[in-house]
């Protein structure tokens, strides 16, 4: 199954990853090869098969709604590319 270039644009937007014009053909071909692999699933009859999301069919544990984490924001913000006054800085969003 080969992808249309417009579909690559859509995926690129969904994934927030830009695709360089010089790479687009090669990337489209490689992703199309992966989608060909997916086609192998089509012929299989999966009527009455329940989708499986956890190997042991476990569900998420619940816990009391209490604070379990201590405050690490100063330590964590040291790792930030840009932080000031306890906040992460990004380019201006609102004029």
């Amino acid at each position: 199954m080969s992808l249309e270039k417009s579909e690559v644009d859509t995926i690129s937007r969904l994934a927030a990853i830009s695709v360089d014009a010089t790479e687009v053909d090669q990337l489209t071909a490689k992703i199309s090869n992966v989608l060909d692999l997916f086609q192998r699933m089509e012929a299989v009859d999966t009527t009455n098969v329940e989708p499986m999301s956890h190997p042991l069919d476990q569900v998420q544990r619940l816990r009391e709604d209490v604070v379990t984490e201590t405050d690490h924001h100063k330590q964590y913000q040291k790792l930030a590319p840009a932080a000031e006054k306890g906040m992460y800085l990004v380019p201006q969003v609102i004029d």
């Binding site: 969904l14 990337l27 992966v34 997916f38 098969v49």
Partner: protein, 484 residues
């Protein structure tokens, strides 16, 4: 010292014949000498290692700690390590100094196991060759032209070359077992949830599972004892009492039912691999095992299902890398969208970008049912095959990979051919069952691994079978000549 078993090291440490300081220094010297060629470590931590070694010697002098106190360890660079650079093989995390320890690292630290460094890997664990690391490819100590396998290729290489006595790895689609097979070492992927994922950088959370990589099954049992156990900080950690992996190692395996699936020996399997695996099965038979034919009819569906599900989970997990809170940020972003998109496009490598995009596509409107839901149904069919097969046998054996290690560069341009080579390991991850790779010979001078798969929570049994096999074979004790 690097030719001793970990058990011998442990005895010598406790008898005061050697110190952890001397042992750790010996490994650091070997890393200096050999890692330039191998590129198995992303980061070496000599100061931390020596400081921890001194503390370990104090613990031993005071009679504290355990059997692994004072034995150095190398951690895959997927495990967050407090105050140490933790990159996951990516430019995205090249500047990331972990602010906390992964559970696995925390436990080894508590026990006084000096940290030698962080091992190289495929970027974000996405690969089967360790070639996709931002830090360059790791080489196979048995043949520098060959890949060490992946994604835990660095950990496999350091054990094979004697640049660490013990290492940690993680296995999402075969990332412990395939490199263990390619490098001639022992590795176990435990039951999903047995080892905490806390602090292990996520790739595909419903598959990711940490485990040990060592020379022998006995060493894997000791190391798994350190790594496994319930952790409330991992929402999928198994709530069950810790298993005893060690005390059953010496049980005999008479009457053990060994399942051999016909589907594991079909076209595409390298002759040298097949003959070694058949010989290993014969060896198990000599030890008293009974061979049973079993069937895993849906094996072929596992690879496509995995390559829908794992990238789908990855596209969600890796959305956290946005250039805002930590990791790589692009220069001079013009607006918020540019910041996100350029940071990700410049920070991720080609294979990671492809898998995120494939995952985003599989989850997108109009394709979710055809791909994601369908793959989840196939996942159940693959799991049910194993459950049914284990009604007839105790363990399933076969090859870990269809070939020995391939050459560096041989498959890097054709991702799908690399994906298809994981046909034996991936079904086990879909099922979430435990499995091992055990050294079982050589094909054209490159190691071959025997795959042992067991039902849920059968780690102790697998380790027992592997240990018994290693009592009558010496493949696991062999070292590449240039590193002896």
């Amino acid at each position: 010292m690097h030719t001793l078993s970990v058990k011998e090291m442990s005895e010598k440490l406790r008898n005061k014949e050697i110190t952890s300081v001397a042992l750790t220094q010996h490994y650091l010297d070997r890393i200096d000498q050999y890692d330039g060629d191998l590129n198995a470590y992303v980061t070496v931590t000599p100061e931390l290692a020596m400081e921890m070694a001194k503390q370990a010697d104090d613990m031993i002098a005071e009679g504290k700690g355990g059997l692994l106190t004072g034995i150095p360890v190398a951690h895959k660079d997927i495990f967050c390590t407090l105050d140490v650079k933790t990159t996951c093989g990516s430019k995205m995390l090249d500047n990331f100094i972990a602010p906390y320890d992964a559970k696995v690292v925390e436990e080894s630290r508590k026990l006084g196991m000096p940290i030698l460094g962080k091992t190289n890997m495929d970027e974000f664990a996405m690969g089967s060759s360790s070639e996709s690391s931002y830090y360059g490819a790791t080489k196979n100590p048995w043949d520098l032209k060959a890949v060490p396998g992946g994604s835990s290729g660095g950990s496999a290489a350091v054990i094979a070359a004697g640049l660490a006595p013990l290492a940690t790895g993680s296995d999402t689609g075969g990332s412990i077992r395939q490199p263990a097979s390619f490098c001639g070492i022992t590795g176990i992927k435990p039951t999903y949830g047995a080892v905490s994922r806390y602090g292990m950088i996520a790739y595909a959370s419903s598959f990711d599972q940490g485990g040990p990589m060592t020379r022998s099954a006995e060493e894997s049992a000791w190391m798994l004892d350190v790594m496994a156990g319930f952790d409330e900080r991992d929402s999928t950690s198994l709530e069950q009492p810790k298993q005893d992996y060690v005390s059953t190692l010496n049980n005999d395996i008479k009457g053990l039912k060994v399942g051999v699936p016909a589907e594991y020996f079909e076209a595409g399997l390298d002759e040298g691999v097949e003959s070694n695996i058949r010989a290993a099965i014969a060896e198990l038979e000599k030890l008293g095992a009974e061979i049973v034919e079993v069937s895993l009819p849906n094996k072929e569906l596992a690879v496509p299902a995995y390559y829908v599900l794992a990238p789908a989970e990855a596209s969600s997990n890796l959305s956290r890398f946005d250039g805002v809170r930590y990791g790589y940020r692009c220069e001079n972003p013009t607006d918020l969208n540019d910041l996100y998109t350029r940071s990700r496009s410049e920070g991720f490598g080609a294979e990671v970008k492809r898998r995120i995009m494939v995952g985003a596509y599989a989850l997108s409107a109009g394709y979710y049912d055809a791909y994601y839901l369908k793959a989840q149904k196939l996942r159940r069919m693959v799991r049910d095959d194993f459950v049914k097969a284990f009604e007839q046998c105790d363990v399933i054996v076969g090859p870990v990979a269809p070939t020995p290690a391939f050459n560096i560069g041989e498959k890097s341009d054709d991702p799908v051919s690399m994906y298809l080579a994981d046909l034996y390991t991936i079904p086990v991850n879909l099922a979430g069952m435990p499995a091992m790779s055990v050294p079982a010979g050589f094909s054209n001078g490159r190691p071959v691994g025997l795959h042992l798969v067991g039902p849920y929570h059968s780690e102790a049994k697998l380790l027992n079978v592997a240990h018994q096999y290693q009592q009558v074979t010496n493949w696991h004790q062999q070292m590449p000549e240039s590193y002896q």
